[in-house]
Symmetry: C2
Subunit: 266 residues, 2 copies
């Protein structure tokens, strides 16, 4: 069994020191609770509601060189996996990224490819498909928040062998939680969506962080206002079984030759 | 406004004459109610639970030459669109097909590409992507039942310009109705799922036929046992608007170059 969980948090935009202390509190609790795989929200280091590019730049750090990354790296060193959303500066660009750390190593940086609303005003979109990370005999995929509405991304992670999708989020619309049940069901994977809570500059976040199993059942769900950690022990190898009937494998039954239109530009 | 609806029916396997009478009753009612776009269940002419290939062959007909098709064609002649699931014989093969008829013309035959469970024992899978049909200034896509679990197919229909997905079904699992909310939301389309009801050779069908709008909201839903027609007037052009925020177009925001893995075989 693997103990997987999320931290539902309330970062504040621009308050980097305060957000770092929130992180330290959360990681301390996760250690005490022996959580193996922990997912934090999107832009956990910085907060979300920037007003302009300078605002975003002033909240950014490099991965894994920055102070938020260093805390995550240190936490991961005794055999844990953690992923958190980080406002990332890289060369001259700012990305809405997720840093993945396991066993004391920086294992991946995913840069959000589908930007939501005003994010387009300061972030550069990622240019790569979402990554997987191997840890303790299982495979973990990463996508960020609004990626959920594009079924192509969860699908790609499943095709790359993900047992679970780690999904840092800052959700404002009410659609994602139910849609993630479909993402899990259609791909036969677990998903851990870590959302934030609170309000920033009039933008209210919907909480409701959750863990969903490969049948699309919600195993664990936070309220809108909850702050803290929730976790559950699951057998991730259940995601190896893609059969939904004695003759239907959710992935092998696909007809890739009929899907070519998916990769054509509009 | 367009009056769209479904017929939730209880065909019986092998009872072709009885099933044809059910069709005539349903079409009479649809005419009285001035339904513009009507969706019937999968395999409405034949019933579902065949025991072997001979069983399926004995229930098959050609499209549009068969007697079920002829009724549908005749019905469509005064400016209506209708789609129904038909057990189709074509050359030496049997397909789980949907015949589409509009304005007195046979407009398309879609052959189910993703077969469910025992269907693989008698049906040959379709070899083409799902079709669209233009009717009265709007675009209608067709997929059949289990196609729902493959997000690629609903996506393809949306990319081809569908305002609404017409979805003849014989559902036995309980997942589809909720998943179709995600299909509509992620693509910004309407969907009409026409399911059957009743039990055949121990196989219980779940009813719950429904109409969903481009926000993933269920506009109309039948009970498990309902038999008859339900319809609603909608503005199908709402599906032209793919924006979910001032800066997010569900289709144009896609990143096709990052989706290449979708078309690779496993």
């Amino acid at each position: 069994m693997t103990r997987i969980g999320f931290a539902q948090m309330e970062p504040r935009v621009g308050e980097l020191e305060r957000n770092l202390i929130l992180l330290q509190d959360v990681l301390r609790e996760a250690k005490q609770e022996s959580v193996d795989v922990l997912v934090l929200p999107e832009l956990a280091n910085s907060g979300y509601a920037f007003e302009n590019l300078e605002d975003a730049i002033s909240c950014s750090e490099s991965i894994p060189g920055g102070s938020y990354s260093k805390e995550l790296l240190e936490y991961s060193s005794d055999g844990r996996l953690v992923v958190a959303g980080i406002c990332e500066r890289r060369n001259d660009s700012i990305f809405n990224s997720a840093g993945v750390f396991a066993d004391g190593e920086h294992r991946a940086t995913y840069r959000k490819a589908h930007l939501f609303n005003k994010e387009k005003m300061w972030f550069r979109p990622g240019a790569e498909e979402p990554p997987i990370i191997e840890y303790n005999g299982h495979v973990f995929g990463v996508m960020i928040c609004w990626d959920w509405i594009f079924p192509e991304f969860a699908r790609i992670l499943a095709l790359k062998g993900a047992h679970a999708i780690l999904h840092p989020s800052n959700l404002v619309l009410q659609y994602c939680q139910n849609a993630m049940r479909t993402r899990c069901l259609e791909n036969g994977v677990y998903a851990i969506t870590a959302n934030r809570t609170g309000t920033e500059r009039g933008l209210a976040f919907s909480g409701g962080s959750q863990v969903v199993n490969p049948k699309g059942e919600v195993l664990l769900s936070a309220t809108e206002e909850f702050v803290g950690i929730m976790h559950i022990d699951v057998d991730l190898s259940e995601a190896d079984d893609k059969m939904l009937t004695p003759r239907n494998d959710r992935l092998k039954d696909r007809r890739p030759k009929l899907y070519r239109r998916i990769i054509e530009s509009l």
